[in-house]
């Protein structure tokens, strides 16, 4: 295999990884802070993609701009879902919260299939330009989407580390009981965190819409990406989601060449199970634990 092809595959993987970082970040945050595996995450991303498609088809706004509105809107929805539904069983065993978010996912996904049908839709290219670096060609839209994915994820990381509310979220992630004793309203933090997680999902959806066709059938695939990237990077860690997303993107990209694109999920799944067994704390370790 030639060096230029390898470089192209690596570049594709990195671009994919930037998007995957955004897909995984919100999921990882919710899992780390609430100890809830949010099965709704994939459908929330698809909802964001549809919102971006709608903004583009109806108002001619490109997904990068509509993300600014779509993210907070879906975040608000997430806040309400956590505050009024999930909060009621937040202390129940793993199986209960898993099944509840799965049920919410069925409702949202079925609703979207009814509203938009399962047909694939596509947002028209934003720039359509192709950047060339020697033998490597990269569509500018993909580069912008990947960069935006990483930037948004890093912005959330900075917010968690520097704002008062962000510190409270991290405190709850580290030690729920102690943060309660320190006067943190854990219920409030849970709702805000879930909202933040779904806002990230909405933004990720807008960015995915730039690159990939949109369909409700994508939601389980997105959920799988979030799972794998999250476990790879380390649970609850935002930087871990970036690392995990990029590793997954590169592995998938090379897997498609060496094993065949039809086994892409198997490659990711084997990677995931190996990771769970050998290094369950993730590549970076679990931030704020132990």
């Amino acid at each position: 295999m030639s060096a230029s092809l390898l470089a192209q595959v690596l570049a594709n993987g990195l671009l994919l990884g930037g998007l995957y970082a955004a897909v995984a970040a919100g999921f990882s945050l919710v899992w780390g802070v609430l100890n809830v595996v949010n099965m709704l995450h994939g459908s929330a991303i698809v909802l964001g993609s549809y919102a971006a498609w709608f903004a583009s088809a109806r108002f001619g706004v490109n997904p990068f701009l509509s993300a600014i509105v779509v993210g907070p809107a879906i975040g608000l929805l997430g806040w309400a879902v956590q505050r009024f539904v999930i909060q009621r069983v937040i202390t129940a065993p793993v199986l209960i919260t898993l099944v509840l978010t799965f049920a919410l996912d069925l409702i949202l996904n079925n609703g979207m299939i009814n509203a938009f049908s399962a047909d694939y839709r596509k947002v028209p290219p934003v720039t359509g330009a192709i950047l060339t670096f020697g033998p490597i060609g990269l569509p500018l839209d993909r580069v912008l989407a990947a960069v935006a994915g990483v930037v948004v994820t890093l912005a959330v990381h900075a917010y968690l580390n520097n704002s008062r509310l962000g510190r409270a979220i991290v405190a709850v992630r580290m030690d729920r009981e102690t943060s309660m004793l320190m006067g943190v309203k854990v219920e409030h933090i849970y709702a805000v965190t879930f909202g933040l997680g779904l806002a990230l999902a909405g933004i990720a959806g807008c960015l995915m819409a730039v690159v990939f066709p949109i369909s409700p059938l994508n939601s389980s695939g997105y959920l799988g990406i979030a799972f794998v990237a999250c476990v790879l990077g380390g649970l609850g860690s935002i930087v871990g989601a970036i690392v995990g997303g990029i590793v997954l993107g590169v592995v998938e990209s090379f897997g498609a060449i060496f094993v065949g694109p039809e086994y892409s999920v198997t490659v990711a799944a084997v990677l995931l199970i190996a990771m769970l067994l050998l290094r369950p704390q993730g590549l970076l370790g679990r931030a704020g634990y132990e």
Partner: protein, 315 residues
């Protein structure tokens, strides 16, 4: 009388006898009404899978999503065996043995994980088997699916045999579940569910018991898959490896009561009744309505019907 009712074997024997009566009585009652035959077979299938899941998810407390993996593996095992001209009984044997052979090492490895991590790892097995089955098209027919030769003929006869097989399998699973629940294995599993570290400290070989439960469960799922494949006559990866085969038994067990012996049976009846009503009246929002039911169930009756009744009687 006291010694009889306290014997650990009376329940399983009754379950098997009841199963045999149902298996050969139902077809006489139902006759050739295709709809009722299908509904009864679906119910028996769900009861079987829910009981199998309950061994791991209920008794042991490990939320497994691998049901669909072993279900699909069993279905493909018998389909490939029949393509090769093997008799039906050896196809069933192959389905059970393959599922158990895969489940033992895989279960031993991933049962070290707890909570969400175990759930995800078990779910991944479904994805892996689905892609491998699709990719290995020489053997499995790939995405085009595979026919079961000899499945042709009178549809009522096929449906009747499927119902009989499925009911007997469900009864056998129930009997096995009773034996496990009353025996040393069930006691060990209950200790693991309540506090695994303490159970290990008390000398319970947790990894071994968990693996046994997971393997038993997988073998039952494999047999259910094989019965399903012979019933349907044509299978493809997106059908038999559908995640809903993992999820529906969990919901059924949740409705009835996770970790109880009869919870999966009661829950399956309620679930199938609801599903039929929904599909008939809310065709386009069937899945969504199912989601609403599950959400309400989890919020209002998290312990399930049987523990709910027991608690009411106790208070």
């Amino acid at each position: 009388m006291k010694t009889l009712s306290s014997s650990p074997w009376i329940g399983p024997v009754l379950a098997l006898a009841g199963g045999a009566i149902l298996a050969f009585g139902l077809p006489v009652l139902v006759g050739d009404q295709a709809y009722l035959l299908r509904l009864a077979t679906q119910l028996a299938l769900l009861v079987t899978l829910a009981i199998a899941w309950n061994l791991v998810g209920g008794f042991t407390g490990y939320p497994s999503f691998a049901t669909a993996a072993f279900f699909g593996l069993g279905a493909y095992a018998i389909a490939v065996a029949q393509q090769a001209g093997w008799p039906a009984w050896s196809g069933f044997l192959l389905a059970a043995v393959l599922s158990a052979l895969l489940a033992a090492p895989f279960g031993f490895a991933i049962l070290r994980l707890r909570g969400h991590y175990f759930a995800i790892a078990s779910l991944m097995l479904v994805t892996i088997l689905k892609e491998v089955t699709t990719g290995w098209s020489d053997l499995t027919g790939g995405g085009m699916g595979i026919n079961l030769p000899g499945a042709g003929g009178n549809p009522t006869a096929i449906a009747t045999v499927a119902l009989e097989t499925m009911v007997i399998l469900a009864a056998a699973a129930l009997a096995l579940s009773m034996i496990v629940a009353k025996g040393r294995l069930g006691f060990g599993l209950a200790c693991i569910r309540m506090n695994e570290t303490a159970a290990m400290g008390a000398g319970i070989d947790a990894p071994r018991l968990k693996t046994i439960a997971f393997t038993l469960s997988a073998a039952i799922c494999g047999l259910a898959g094989a019965t399903y494949a012979r019933w349907i006559g044509y299978i493809d990866p997106s059908d038999v490896y559908d995640v809903m085969w993992s999820v529906r038994p969990i919901i059924a067990a949740l409705i009835g009561g996770v970790g109880t012996v009869f919870g999966p049976v009661v829950g399956s009846i309620v679930y199938i009744a609801f599903e039929e009503l929904m599909w008939r009246n809310l065709l386009t929002f069937g899945t969504g309505a199912l989601g609403v039911l599950i959400a309400l169930l989890v919020l209002l009756l998290p312990a399930g019907i049987i523990p709910g009744i027991l608690r009411r009687r106790a208070s």
